[in-house]
């Protein structure tokens, strides 16, 4: 039964692609046409993961992909008023703000691609494909593999736009890029966009991605972000998920790291109906370092599944993973953290921690570390905990006159703070702290009072 359904849902997407082939990537260079064909073939072979597959055991996505949704092969004009939708209560973050509206780069009054004198390029990926086909083809689809990756394959076949960022050798992006992913529609809609970040040797960049829903419709997002980190370069990516509870989001982030590069990737999930975050980091050069952070706060029927694969493909690389979750009501979560140490990757140091707090008897979390170690001189450790709030700590705070509810909030805040304090940029720490505090107090139900200040 499951298999038959699985074929039909997959078939639906294959047909959707074939029937609309002439609408997808109308200006594609040859390499991209080939990539799409390769991707749809790969998807045909793989199909949607069914629950029997270990990697998707806790998150059953196929029924969501089977739902009735509208697909758009070109941007539909939507009138929306920034002022109306975003009301901000703290000063604007100093960043280059780029907007993606329903999967397409949105900047009606400005250029699609910004090209700075120092060689830095950022803006629409679609535009970058046209203007810099050589550069894009060198990296696009190189990190994110199609093999056995149904969601990457599907995205590669369908996606037409997203954000492109290029920082050439020795350059520094002086201000962070802030990508605002907006979902706004008058109907249920599926969106697939793609980001490509390239930070060359001795360069550095910081990207903040904010996912928002602005209308109450059912949104399904399947996004892919590829990030290439050159030798001795620095890359920080922080993703802030704040979609409504009627949305489903699958993110696929593929990071590759060259020798001595440093990467930080954070995923903060404040709201979302069903969220699956796939993160794949491959340290292919010696001495690379990666720090992965995750924090989710869920209640009601929300579901968040963080699935990470950290590949130590070279010696002397270090990885740290800290994932934390707070779950209330009937919410469910999963963490699957795989550390894969290749045979030659001696002197690997890999650390993983996953801590969860269940606030109700009905919330559930599945935590699964997976270590595959093929080298012998390595230091690897992992730890997972599931617990309640510390009753002794709660009583201690109460005994000083702090009401129980406020004491609980303080403890939850403290629990989350452990992840937030690891975010490199201290200016962001304060903002995220504030958002998490609001979320815990139930004051953050929509993005228009979000502290990230996407628009002023």
């Amino acid at each position: 039964m499951e298999t038959i359904e699985s074929i039909s849902t997959s078939q639906k997407y294959i047909e959707l692609f074939r029937q609309n082939r002439d609408l997808i990537g109308t200006e594609d260079p040859v390499f991209l046409t080939k990539l799409r064909e390769q991707a749809i073939r790969s998807f045909e072979e793989t199909g949607f993961p069914i629950r029997k597959q270990e990697n998707y055991k806790y998150t059953h996505l196929e029924p969501v992909f089977d739902g009735e949704m509208s697909f758009e092969f070109m941007p539909r004009s939507i009138s929306f008023d920034n002022q109306e939708l975003f009301r901000c209560d703290v000063p604007m973050l100093d960043s280059h703000v780029l907007t993606i509206l329903n999967g397409f780069f949105y900047n009606p009054e400005g250029p699609a691609l910004f090209e700075l004198e120092n060689g830095v390029v950022y803006g629409s990926l679609k535009e970058a494909v046209l203007r810099h086909p050589g550069l894009v083809s060198k990296y696009l689809g190189k990190n994110a593999t199609l093999d056995n990756e149904a969601f990457v394959s599907l995205n590669t076949a369908f996606s037409q736009d997203g954000i492109f960022l290029y920082v050439p050798e020795g350059r520094e992006l002086e201000k962070p890029i802030q990508i605002i992913n907006l979902l706004l529609s008058d109907r249920n809609q599926m969106v697939q966009h793609r980001n490509l970040f390239v930070v060359e040797k001795n360069a550095s960049a910081q990207v903040i991605i904010c996912d928002h829903t602005l209308s109450p419709h059912l949104f399904l997002t399947n996004s892919v972000t590829e990030s290439y980190t050159g030798e001795n370069s620095d890359m920080d990516i922080l993703r802030l998920q704040n979609e409504h509870n009627n949305s489903c989001q699958v993110t696929n982030t593929w990071i590759s790291q060259e020798r001595n590069s440093r990467c930080q990737h954070g995923t903060i999930t404040l709201h979302g109906g069903m969220v699956r975050n796939n993160l794949h980091v491959k340290m292919q050069g010696e001495g690379a370092e990666t720090n992965v952070l995750g924090l989710f706060l869920i209640d009601k029927m929300q579901h968040v599944d963080n699935f990470t694969v950290i590949e130590h493909a070279s010696p002397h690389c270090t990885s740290n993973q800290h994932y934390k979750g707070v779950l209330d009501d009937m919410s469910t979560g999963a963490f699957n953290g795989k550390i894969h140490v290749w045979p030659d990757a001696q002197k690997t140091e890999a650390f993983q921690a996953n801590n969860n707090i269940l606030l109700s008897d009905t919330a559930k979390i599945h935590s699964k570390p997976q270590l595959e170690i093929y080298a012998d001189d390595v230091k690897c450790s992992h730890g997972a905990t599931v617990g309640q709030l510390d009753e002794d700590a709660l009583f201690y705070l109460q005994s000083r006159g702090i009401p129980k509810n406020e004491s609980r909030l303080m403890l939850m805040d403290a629990f989350a703070h452990d992840v937030i304090s690891r975010i490199k940029q201290s200016s962001l720490q304060g903002r995220i702290s504030e958002l998490v505090g609001k979320r815990l107090r139930g004051e953050l139900s929509r993005c228009n009072n979000c502290a990230m200040n996407c628009h002023d």
Binding site: S399, A414, H417, D418
Partner: protein, 259 residues
Amino acid sequence: MSKANHMLEIIDLKVNIENKEILKGITLSVKAGEVHAIMGPNGSGKSTLASALAGRDTIDITHGKITYEGKDLLELAPEDRAREGIFLGFQYPVEIPGVSMVNFLRTAINEKRKYLGLDPMPAGDFLKLMREKKKVVEINSDLTNRSVNEGFSGGEKKKNEIFQMALLEPKLAILDETDSGLDIDALRIVANGVNNLRTPENATIVITHYQRLLDYIIPDFVHVLYKGRIVKSGDKHLAKELEEHGYDWIKQEVEHGDN
């Protein structure tokens, strides 16, 4: 016994923990300005009494009454007891990573002020108050920049309890084995702190196993708790006697009395 004079009145208090009776009928009255010491061997129920006063919900009060300033204490939530002026100095202060001392103390002070119908304390006044009270327990300044009790030494944790007491200015302080694990210097500092905070309006209950803390904090009354009952009460000389002869003679007295 004139009730009006009593700040705290415990009448025939019986307490169970996990269905085992730990306190078997405690009666005790404390007036403003008094210092009471509660002594006794391990396992006699001293900390359970402290928990009952502070409102810990892991214990089960099966019988009796506690009146504090004319109010039924058992009806009050732990936070309300604190805001009414009761302070428990913990035997084992808990470490709370991620909650900063400053945020914790400011919240505690302002919650109390809110309860009393006062506006929050201005930040400047709060910092000044902190500086002032740190001196009471000879706390070095960086303690307050850390998370609550996190990584504090045993002595620092106990000093921190008295520091909180100094900030919150309770009417009734219950110090549960505040002397345990302290070296003689720390003991002196903690005891001086308590003595400095003494006024004719507040009262202190000092719970201790050893007499040595009572060399510094001179009690008006000493009660010996044994097997869940107060078996002997006296003045400060009783503590001396216990120091010299240990608890065995009391135990024997009780056993013989029982038979």
